[in-house]
């Protein structure tokens, strides 16, 4: 008995010590990353990390797959509170103010050069800045795009090569595309689906198209019940309640399968599902800009790379090397091809493999071309709560429970109470 326990103690010690780096020179980095599509992309990411480690014998990056965006943010937050932040991590871009409030990240000014930054698409950089410093580097980035079913267009007598370009056209097309059961009048096929779950993000795009925005982070203003926003929500209610050509609610994960199954003819969703739709749709489909109102408009999305607060200088430098490695034009182009995200840098689209790839699949260029009309994503401290408040207002209005004006007024009251401190400063 005694001998056994001594043996197991010894074993335990061996295991414990082998967990520490044997080579004192080796810089070990913890790297938290989320990916939307679990299996395949996690494998791709591990491949990148292995390549980096092979190129840098004195640095070892330890990748930690941390689930979706929310669980990743939670892991970062708990690690920061525990005094042991990850060295490098990717979280959703709108988390920047929360990360700053928690004192969780290092500014990256000492590492970036104007030349480095000038190659990134400006809309992608916007969410990286706060208080005159840069904190996050664009990595997996997306924007919403517009998908349409060409077969349905033909059926309804519409030109399958011409998607709607304005809200009015969208409404008109949606009415033509909606199919109802002749006896019960029940909708069999929706004209258009504005996906739920991240409908707050899509709503921001509509407000942009109408020439306004909900939150100006740099100016510290938040206006949710502006006439432009109310008009945008009225348009949604028109589609879902008055005309009944769009489903009032849905979830983010369920609408791409709905589109592929032909249950809806037009779809608002992230460019991130393009690969899924391409692989599964049994019909011709198109990818286009989101229809505009005053102008085209979209807000970017996705995740940025951050460096954890207070790590030793040598680890910080190693972390930056890793960030540089992940964001070279070649890697940006490769990640875009592997994942379907938009490549974050202009020169990534000049990489030969990427040129060849986009020639074969021009659909992948739509999101990039839409970037000229796109802006940074809405962000603020307590962003998750702001999101919930906005989503509730949108859901209540599209369900016909309250008017768009009343829903957004209510949201404004809640936002004022929540962000009062921040807005006044």
């Amino acid at each position: 008995m005694k001998r056994k326990s001594i043996l197991s103690m010894a074993l335990l010690l061996v295991v414990l010590f082998s967990a520490f780096p044997v080579n004192a020179q080796l810089v070990r980095l913890t790297y938290y990353y989320p990916v939307g599509v679990a299996g395949p992309l996690a494998r791709v990411m591990n491949e990148y990390v292995e390549e980096f480690n092979a190129l840098h014998p004195n640095i070892e990056v330890v990748p930690v797959y941390s689930g979706d965006y929310d669980p990743t943010m939670q892991k970062v937050q708990t690690a920061v509170r525990g005094g042991n932040p990850p060295d490098v991590f990717i979280v959703e871009i709108s988390e920047l103010p929360t990360l700053l409030a928690m004192n969780a990240i290092e500014p990256l000014d000492e590492f970036v050069t104007d030349e480095f930054l000038s190659d990134f698409f400006p809309a992608f950089l916007e969410n990286g800045y706060s208080d005159g410093h840069i904190w996050g580097i664009p990595f997996q980035r997306s924007t919403p795009v517009f998908y349409w079913n060409k077969a349905h267009f033909e059926e309804a007598g519409l030109d399958p090569e011409k998607p709607p370009t304005t809200w009015d056209e969208l409404r008109e097309y949606a009415e033509k595309l909606t199919v109802r059961d002749p006896q019960t009048g029940e909708v069999i096929r929706w004209g258009v689906t504005i996906s739920g779950g991240w409908n707050d993000w899509l709503f921001q795009c509509f407000v942009r198209q109408n020439g306004s925005k909900l939150i100006d982070y740099q100016e510290r203003t938040a206006v949710f019940n502006s006439p432009e926003a109310v008009e945008a929500l009225e348009f949604w209610v028109d589609l879902t309640q008055n005309l009944k050509v769009a489903p009032p609610h849905s979830t983010w994960a369920s609408t791409p399968p709905d589109f592929v199954a032909g249950r809806t003819s037009m779809l608002y969703h992230s460019t991130g599902v393009l690969t899924f739709i391409m692989d599964s749709a049994q019909f011709d489909f198109g990818v286009g800009f989101l229809p505009g109102k005053v102008s085209y408009g979209a807000e970017v999305g996705g995740g940025n790379l951050f460096i954890g607060k207070g790590i030793p200088q040598e680890r910080k430098e190693a972390a930056w090397k890793f960030i540089e490695f992940l964001t070279t034009p070649e890697m940006a182009a490769r990640w875009s091809r592997d994942s379907g995200y938009v490549a974050t840098r202009k020169s990534a689209y000049e990489v030969p493999e990427m040129v060849e790839y986009t020639n074969e699949n021009p659909e992948y260029l739509v999101a990039r071309d839409q970037l000229q009309y796109a802006a940074g994503k809405m962000m603020s401290p307590a962003f998750q709560r702001v999101r919930e408040i906005l989503k509730t207002a949108l859901d209540e209005a599209t369900a016909g429970r309250t008017t768009p004006k009343a829903a957004l007024d209510q949201a404004q009251t809640q936002i004022n109470r929540l962000l009062g401190q921040w807005l006044q400063q």
């Binding site: 929310d70 939670q74 937050q77 103010p97 929360t98 409030a101 928690m102 004192n103 019960t184 029940e186 909708v187 739920g196 779950g197 489903p247 009032p248 609610h249 849905s250 979830t251 994960a253 369920s254 399968p257 709905d258 199954a261 249950r263 401290p381 307590a382 998750q384 709560r385 919930e388 989503k391 509730t392 859901d395 209540e396 369900a399 429970r401 209510q410 809640q414 109470r417 401190q421 921040w422």
Partner: protein
């Protein structure tokens, strides 16, 4: 010698309790006390260092319009799932306690298997079953001429869909407990009852149900605790939406703590939750103990 022996017999029971007491202290009692302590501090993304603020967090809870919806959802969920789950569990237990040969074993397995599926997997499965366009449930309903129900996308139907999933998932477990209870009832009672000429129904009414009393107390309390604690299904199936119509108490606590990063308010909610549960269980045990036959 004899006195130390006596001491040992007195202290021994407490010694046996030490391991579980230690675990409970570390993982249950200490967190409860610490949450209570935290609930008096304002601590969120604007005030990272906790600031003592009396009952401000408790007051803030009632200011949130969502809180009312959350309480209503939780109560509806509990009142909707517990009686149906219990009834189904009891019914199946009684039926499957009869002599039906090998068919009985197959049915027992069939009723119990949802319990063995991990909750998250069951939730994912349900998401597909309830899909309005391609889900099996609407497919079958359509055969009976029921118009399309949007289930998880619909403010009215999302919570019932989660409740149905929970009933399907949980009744097997309670059935098993009822089966155990049924097998504790001595066979002589039924024998003498049939000699006296009692039919199935009077045996059920005067022997089975009364003697299942202690089991029922356990099932009710267990049912209340599990239904108040529902989280996984909501997290997987709806994330509380649409418009918070499936947001329940524990999910709301999670949102406040880990999504909104408002630890003060989350702690206040937790304390309220513990108090409500304690009161409920206390009343129930008091009320039901009086009506239960523990001895034959």
């Amino acid at each position: 010698m004899s006195s130390s022996r006596l001491n040992l017999t007195k202290t021994r029971p407490y010694l046996y309790l030490v391991p579980s007491l230690a675990l409970l202290s570390v993982f249950t009692y200490f967190p409860i006390l610490y949450s209570t302590y935290l609930s008096f501090f304002r601590q969120n993304v604007f005030t990272l260092e906790p600031v003592f603020d009396w009952f401000a967090n408790y007051a803030a809870v009632f200011e949130e319009p969502v809180f009312k919806i959350v309480v209503r959802n939780t109560v509806v969920y509990a009142l909707g799932t517990i009686p149906i789950t219990m009834f189904l569990a009891l019914l199946m237990a009684i039926l499957l306690n009869e002599q039906l040969g090998w068919i009985r074993d197959i049915y027992r397995v069939a009723c119990f298997y949802p319990t063995m599926i991990p909750m998250a997997a069951a939730g994912m499965l349900a998401v597909w079953l309830f899909n309005p366009g391609i889900g099996l449930i609407n497919h079958y309903l359509k055969m009976f001429g029921v118009p399309t129900i949007e289930w998880l996308y619909d403010m009215k139907w999302a919570l019932p869909a989660i409740m149905l999933t929970a009933i399907w998932k949980n009744f097997g477990y309670f059935m098993l407990i009822y089966l155990a209870g049924l097998q504790n009832i001595p066979g002589e009672l039924y024998e003498s009852a049939s000699i006296e000429g009692c039919g199935f129904w009077s045996r059920l009414r005067y022997i089975t149900l009364p003697l299942l009393g202690p089991t029922t107390v356990f099932v009710v309390i267990q049912g209340i605790i599990t239904s108040f604690q529902v989280f996984d299904l909501v997290y997987v199936m709806t994330q509380g939406g649409p418009a918070d119509r499936t947001n329940v108490f524990v999910y709301y606590i999670y949102q406040n703590a880990f999504r909104f990063w408002d630890f003060g308010q989350a702690s206040a909610l937790t304390v309220m939750f513990v108090i409500v549960l304690l009161i409920l269980v206390f009343i129930l045990t008091r009320f039901m103990e009086r009506r239960v036959h523990y001895e034959v």
